[in-house]
Amino acid sequence: MRNNNETLKHIINSLIPVILAFALGAIIILFTGNNPLYAYWILLKKSLFTSKGFLDTLHYASPLILTGLAIAVTFKANVYNMGVEGQMLLGGFFAGLVGSSISVGNPFIEKFICIIVAIICGMAFAMIPAILKVKCNVNEMVVTLMLNYGVVKVLEFLTTGVFKDKSAGYVATPTINDIAMFSRFGKSRITAFFVIVIIVLIVMYFIMKKTKLGYEITAIGKNPEFAEACGMNVGKKIMVIMLLSGALSGMAGAGWMLSDQFKYTLSFSGNPGLGWDGMLVALLGGHTPIGILVASIFYAALKTGSDSINMYTSVPKEIVALIQGIMILFLAVKFLKEKK
């Protein structure tokens, strides 16, 4: 019974910020001279209440689930890996390069290689702040934020220069081979990548709830000194957590590349990027796998809806980014006290 109570509090604590953010957003929409209820209806109608729209929403939610998990494993341990965006971009970029240059014939092996390459890239990126944190005691948040800017610039340089597709009329890397692409199910955009994401989600649920590592993540998050004093090798665990986070982010990038984008452009991850969206998803979902699933579907619906809001009303689509920011702000505060 007490457990149920805690879950309820958890849900309420996630719902209040959403409601407040939408209420504030409504006031802003009123100022632009539109009807907020109509705007919100437009925002959610297509993406949640039609079968094609809902499947599209699931498609857009897939990378968010992975980046959300990547954020959740680190934030839960009070390690702030802000580099998820950069790790995701790096993974996506190299998955795209491998997908366009190497052709092994078998579509399964081809995709497998692309995803593995992306995972390695994500892990390599995450390794830098992890080593610096554990060996030199550098704040991981600052390092990952800085490296994000660095990665964006490097990829921009590579895309506009070395790896630019000469035949394309705009700045992009070559399109990946057909066998590397995930094919769509029916008319909607959803692909087999969503199935892979759900498998990863189940594995992560198992890791976070049932294994020693999951327990250790929670323990480090609550009190690292105590965890260390109990004989846990906190430094080593932080490395493992960061690598796990990097792998998930890299995989998100690969999936987005192979199932949606097919080539790296400068707006590969949209605005704000998939990594940043993942942060909101993780916070909204209370760092639990099931919460992240629900939150990412909700958020993907908002994001896909933001295109139709631009079409049918005169509200700028940045309203969604604004609502997202307000949500994060309110999510920082726990409205009901949760048991630690």
Binding site: V138, L145, P272
Partner: protein, 303 residues
């Protein structure tokens, strides 16, 4: 020689906004409420000053509204973080999200991609110091900057005095080091945290005005480009000491100036130079932290 001159001039030019963020941010850092919203607050200063200037043409109104709105962000940050005891990192992230979204929203409503001011030019803001201006090389480096740029460098001294010579500075540090002790002494710990954050917001707002209105007379989206985070890295490197942290900010200024000036001659390689400042900051941060903790001999992981 001309290249060296322009590198040194640009060093002063690029250091100023970061120094401002650093000398404001150290108080929040010392009070143990790390303010990563500096980035968003700076962008707010940059955006509001240009926006108000664009619509009213009144420079005084532009400056005061920019500073006032940035202080409001500071109040929101402290209300959620100090009074609501929320997670300051998440609050900071939220503000860093909201401010650019507001700016993009407004620009979209106006139907423009950036605001550039027509009735005022960059040279109006440049101050030429009488005597120094006439000295050959020094004049070309030190003279001809804007008011807030000079204020940033003077601010290093002012903030050192506030931090070490005033009651306020001492109390802020006590609150950060040991909050229970501060409470038992009867200090209003929340008040000092609020003031520390607001001081940071004020400086970040000034840095934003410097960035957009004073230097370029225009606002473009995301024009702060991570300077707030670089300031936080500088604060970490310098351990929150005003002078040391500012030196790291100047180091970033140098690397930025190098990147800008070298990329002019680099041709297609120019893009890669943009990464220099970030790489330098990460390496410096790593080295400094390594030196600091080299002699700490604690079993296992240190905190």
């Amino acid at each position: 020689m001309a290249l060296l001159n322009s590198i040194l001039y640009d060093t002063v030019y690029h250091s100023a906004p970061i120094i401002l963020c650093v000398i404001g941010g150290i108080f929040a850092y010392k009070a143990n409420v790390l303010n990563i919203a500096l980035e968003g607050m700076m962008l707010n200063g940059a955006f509001v000053s240009v926006l108000v200037m664009y619509f009213t043409g009144n420079i005084f109104l532009a400056l005061s509204s920019a500073i006032l709105t940035t202080l409001i962000w500071g109040l929101i940050f402290s209300y959620f973080g100090v009074s609501g005891s929320g997670n300051v990192i998440v609050i900071g992230l939220g503000i860093n999200f909201i401010v650019p979204a507001i700016a993009k929203f407004t620009l979209n409503m106006m139907g423009v991609s950036n605001i550039s001011l027509q009735n005022i030019s960059v040279s109006d803001f440049k101050i030429h110091i009488p005597i120094i201006d006439s000295i050959d090389i020094v004049g070309s480096i030190l003279s001809g900057h804007t008011f807030i740029t000079y204020l940033a460098f003077i601010g290093i001294i002012i903030m050192s005095v506030i931090m070490y010579q005033t009651k306020f500075g001492i109390y802020v540090r006590v609150v950060g080091e040991n909050e229970e002790a501060a409470i038992s002494l009867g200090l209003k710990t929340k008040l000092y945290k609020y003031l520390a954050i607001l001081l940071g917001a004020l400086c970040a707002g000034l840095a934003g005005i410097n960035l957009s209105l004073e230097r370029m007379c225009m606002y473009t989206n995301d024009m702060t480009a991570g300077r707030g985070f670089i300031a936080i890295a500088a604060i970490y490197c310098g351990g929150g000491k005003p002078l040391e942290s500012s030196l790291y900010a100047i180091l970033f200024g140098i690397s930025r100036a190098l990147a800008v000036n070298l990329s002019i001659n680099a041709g297609p390689m120019a893009g890669i130079f943009d990464t220099i400042p970030y790489i330098i900051m990460v390496s410096v941060l790593a080295t400094v932290s390594y030196m600091k903790f080299k002699n700490v001999r604690v079993r296992g992981y240190t905190f």
